[in-house]
C-alpha cells in the first residue's frame, strides 16, 4: 500500500504545481508529472507476483501472465500525453511572441 500512497503524493506534487506556479512552462511540466503518476498506478494494479511478460511462447503450457489490459490502456495514454504537451508548447510559443513573457498573471492583465 505504500507504493500507491507514493504515487498519489507524486500526483499531488503535480497538482500543486498547476495551482500555484505562474510560469507557463512550469504549468506544462506539472501537467506532465500528473500524467506520469497515473500511468504508474495503472500498471501497478495489474502486476502479478512471479508473472511473465505478456508474450506467449508457442508450445508451452498454461503460464501466469501479467495483466495485459492496463498495459494497452497506458500505451494509448502515453501517446495522448505527447500530443497534449506539444499543443501546450505551441500555445506557449505564440504567447511569448506576442507578450514577451511567460507569466500568466501579466498576460491576463494585458488583454491584447
Amino acid at each position: 500500500m505504500i507504493v500507491y500512497l507514493l504515487c498519489f503524493i507524486l500526483f499531488l506534487v503535480g497538482l500543486y504545481g498547476v495551482i500555484t506556479r505562474r510560469n507557463l512552462i512550469k504549468i506544462a511540466i506539472s501537467l506532465s508529472i500528473m500524467e506520469f503518476s497515473i500511468f504508474l498506478i495503472l500498471v501497478l494494479i495489474g502486476y502479478i507476483d512471479q508473472g511473465l511478460a505478456p508474450i506467449v511462447e508457442p508450445g508451452s503450457g498454461a503460464q501466469v501472465y501479467v495483466d495485459p489490459l492496463p498495459q494497452a490502456m497506458v500505451l494509448t495514454a502515453i501517446v495522448i500525453g505527447l500530443a497534449t504537451t506539444a499543443m501546450l508548447m505551441a500555445i506557449a510559443i505564440r504567447l511569448y511572441r506576442k507578450y514577451k513573457t511567460f507569466d500568466i498573471r501579466e498576460i491576463k492583465n494585458l488583454r491584447g
Binding site: 497538482l15 512552462i25 501472465y65 506539444a86 505564440r94
Partner: protein, 177 residues
C-alpha cells in the same frame, strides 16, 4: 519489488519537487527528465516492455522540444513576491489536498495487495487471444483486435495535434534570417 519501486518513486518525487522550484527554466526541464526516465525503470521492473520502449522514445522527444522552446525564448524564472494572493492560493490548495487524500484512502481499501491481482476482466482476453487473433504478443492483439477503436481514436488524436501545431504557428515555411 515493493521496496525497489518505492525507492525509485522517492527519487521521482524529489526530482518533481525540485522541478517546480528551480530558478532556471532549463534546470526545471532537465528535472522533468528524472521523472520520465525513472518511469522507464519502473515499467521494466513491472514486466511491461512495450511501455518501456514507447515511454523512453516519447520522453526523449518531449525533452528535445521543451529545451528548444526554452532556449529560444527566456531562461529566467520570474521573481514572485510572496503576497497575500499566493498565500491564499497555497492554503486553498492544501485544503483540497487533504480532502482528496481522504477519498483516496477510502478508495484503495478495496484494492488487492501488490502482486495478487485477480484478473477478473482480462481472463477471456488472456486465454482466448492466441486463437482469436493469431498474434502471440498479447498487448498488440488486444490493441489492434479487441480494442481497435481506441487505437483508431489515438491515431486521429495524434494527427489532429500535428494539424493544430501547424495551424497555431501559421508558418510560411522559411526560417527567418
Amino acid at each position: 519489488m515493493e521496496l525497489t519501486i518505492s525507492i525509485i518513486l522517492g527519487f521521482m518525487i524529489i526530482g518533481a519537487i525540485y522541478a517546480l522550484h528551480a530558478k532556471d527554466l532549463l534546470s526545471a526541464v532537465v528535472a522533468m527528465g528524472i521523472v520520465g526516465y525513472g518511469l522507464v525503470i519502473c515499467f521494466l521492473l513491472l514486466k511491461a516492455p512495450d511501455l518501456a520502449i514507447v515511454q523512453i522514445v516519447v520522453e526523449t522527444i518531449t525533452l528535445v522540444i521543451m529545451v528548444a522552446v526554452v532556449l529560444d525564448s527566456t531562461r529566467k524564472e520570474l521573481e514572485v513576491p510572496f503576497d497575500r494572493k499566493s498565500l491564499l492560493n497555497t492554503i486553498v490548495g492544501f485544503v483540497v489536498f487533504a480532502g482528496l487524500f481522504y477519498f483516496f484512502l477510502n478508495a484503495i481499501e478495496s484494492l488487492d495487495p501488490l502482486g495478487m491481482h485477480s484478473l477478473r476482466m482480462s481472463e477471456p482476453y488472456v486465454t482466448g487471444a492466441v486463437e482469436s487473433t493469431g498474434s502471440i504478443n498479447l498487448v498488440t492483439g488486444i490493441l489492434f483486435d479487441f480494442r481497435a477503436y481506441d487505437t483508431l481514436g489515438e491515431a486521429v488524436i495524434l494527427y489532429t495535434a500535428a494539424l493544430g501545431a501547424l495551424t497555431l504557428l501559421r508558418m510560411k515555411g522559411k526560417k527567418t534570417a
